[in-house]
């Protein structure tokens, strides 16, 4: 069974069909690319998948359960985490606190226990602290634990945002143009990171990108959208030679 599946998904803004009849499925442990030129409707799709927008029509299933109408935090708790195109970190908090916030639901102590600092508070906080540090170690960022997120270099900010999403313990990770604003060197490093986390955390990834060359190298399957509709699906090689895709990307 597919982990993430959409059926006839559509979003209309007034009379404008931003997304129409959008069907995809992502299997477990799969790395799928969602590409298309600017304005193709990719952002709208992402916002529907993560509960920011309510689709006008169609259904989204996460592990067999419909997530349409669910709030973003509910969808996270059901196992789909995301990042944002224009990095959204908790800028004035430390790097480790950024991770700990994602651990929020892992901890169970109540407000009163937190205020009076019971044994459970200490135990869970200690555990969260240790796990967050381990997490940062995986991304080679433990040295930055107490740095404010806003003071990180750009590439590290992207990494932190991905790390934070992974800390919610998702089964599928939705990456929203993670290479935006990066130089070629940073992009290459990022692609390695994406590949690494897919294996390390054994999760599925849906990677949204507008630069086609970037996803070719790492994605197992690619979905191309234009004007809100899917124009091609398939393996990177098939996509590369698809006349519709070439037309969209290079013009006639």
């Amino acid at each position: 069974m597919a982990l993430l599946e959409t059926k006839g998904l559509g979003m209309y803004f007034g009379g404008l069909k931003a997304v129409d009849n959008f069907d995809i499925s992502v299997d477990e442990h799969e790395l799928v690319g969602l590409i298309g030129p600017n304005g193709a409707g990719k952002t709208t799709i992402f916002n529907m998948l993560t509960g920011v927008y309510l689709p006008t029509e169609g259904d989204i299933m996460l592990d067999g359960l419909s997530i349409v109408g669910k709030k973003p935090y509910q969808i996270v708790n059901m196992g789909a985490a995301r990042t944002f195109q224009n990095i959204r970190l908790f800028k004035d908090l430390s790097v480790i606190d950024n991770i700990k916030i994602a651990y929020h639901n892992e901890m169970k102590y109540t407000t009163v226990e937190g205020i009076f600092r019971t044994k459970r508070y200490w135990a869970e906080e200690e555990k969260a602290h240790q796990e967050s540090l381990d997490f940062l170690k995986i991304f080679d960022m433990q040295a930055y634990a107490d740095t404010l997120a806003k003071n990180l270099p750009y590439g590290k900010q992207r990494k932190l945002e991905i790390a934070r999403a992974l800390a919610t313990n998702p089964r599928i990770l939705l990456l929203d143009e993670p290479a935006a604003g990066m130089n070629p060197h940073e992009t290459k490093e990022l692609m390695e990171t994406i590949h690494f986390i897919k294996d390390k955390f054994d999760i599925a990834i849906l990677l949204k990108e507008h630069d086609m060359s970037l996803v070719m190298g790492i994605c197992e399957r690619i979905i191309v959208v234009d004007y809100g509709k899917i124009i091609a699906k398939g393996k990177p090689d098939e996509i590369k030679n698809n006349p519709d895709v070439i037309r969209v990307y290079l013009g006639e």
Binding site: T50, V52, K71, P72, Y73, V76, N77, A81, R82, F84, R88, L89, F90, K91, D92, L93, D97, K100, I101, A102, Y103, H104, N105, M107, Y109, T111, G114, I115, F116, R117, Y121, W122, E124, E125, E126, A128, H129, R164, A165, A167, T168
Partner: protein, 333 residues
Amino acid sequence: MAKISIKNYIMNVLAIVILYALLKFLIWNGVISRYYLGIIIFICINIVLATSLNLATGFLGQLALGHAGFMAIGAYVSAITAISLKGSGLPNTVMLIISLLLAAIFAGVIGILIGIPALRLKGDYLGIITLGFGEVIRVFINNIKMTGGAQGLTGIPRISNIDNIFWITVVVVTILYTLTNSRHGRAIKSIREDEIAAEAVGIQTTKYKVMGFAIAAFFAGIGGGMYAHYIAFLDPNTFNFMRSVEILVIVVLGGMGSLTGSVIAAIVLTILPEALRDFANYRLLIYSGLLVIMMIFRPQGLFGTTEFSLSGFLYKLRHNQIFSSRKKIEEGD
């Protein structure tokens, strides 16, 4: 982690006990007169009001311009409770605790009722709607019989004194400190930083917004109660929009998201108008002028979002970092 914390606890508890002993000693030998004692009590009340507002505005990031409304609710509920308990023979402290708890719960519940619809708004709009609620509360109190209306409420037992006010203040600030450093506090801070991102990592933003707002109202209720039992007379117009603004000024000046900043700003801003008393009519002119100047030169407040910590300060002092960091800045220039 736990070991360092225990050391910190002991140090902070010691510092507070020493402060209290010093205060008692100075009162005993007459250095602190009745007048100064009154100022100290007002400092404590302002600390409670400002730290609680800081939770809503500094930590949660929601501009609230109606804090005096919650203070008013607390003051009146506490006063009316104490008045009705007057003949019951309860010891004063018990009476005070019952009155304050009831006041806090009442204010907190109203906080939830206002918070649920109002917190859907953001920024300035939220500020305006809380201002509106604050004014509505004041007009209500002004016009119903139970509160004594515009004539004010008299006969309130004068049961708060420097001892209980000091310790209530310590307890309130401590609770707010531990709260803001728990997972719930982090959830609250994450909403200030970026609401959309907070929701995207699984934080129930609506729940924590209402919770932060209601807890702020809860403690504002306690602050109002402390005030009522010290002044022993309530005039609804004390709790007008300007009162909300005074509390907000303390929060912003101290640093949004810094409890220690609020404490220090409460001390400074309570003493300042008193210290300027010799200037008679020019007092508030100077006060407001200074306020504008302070904002221009330090818009992030005295402490920004950082907390002053005794252990951190001592560490820096021991390692001479305070002077060396200043030197570094000078060299940098």
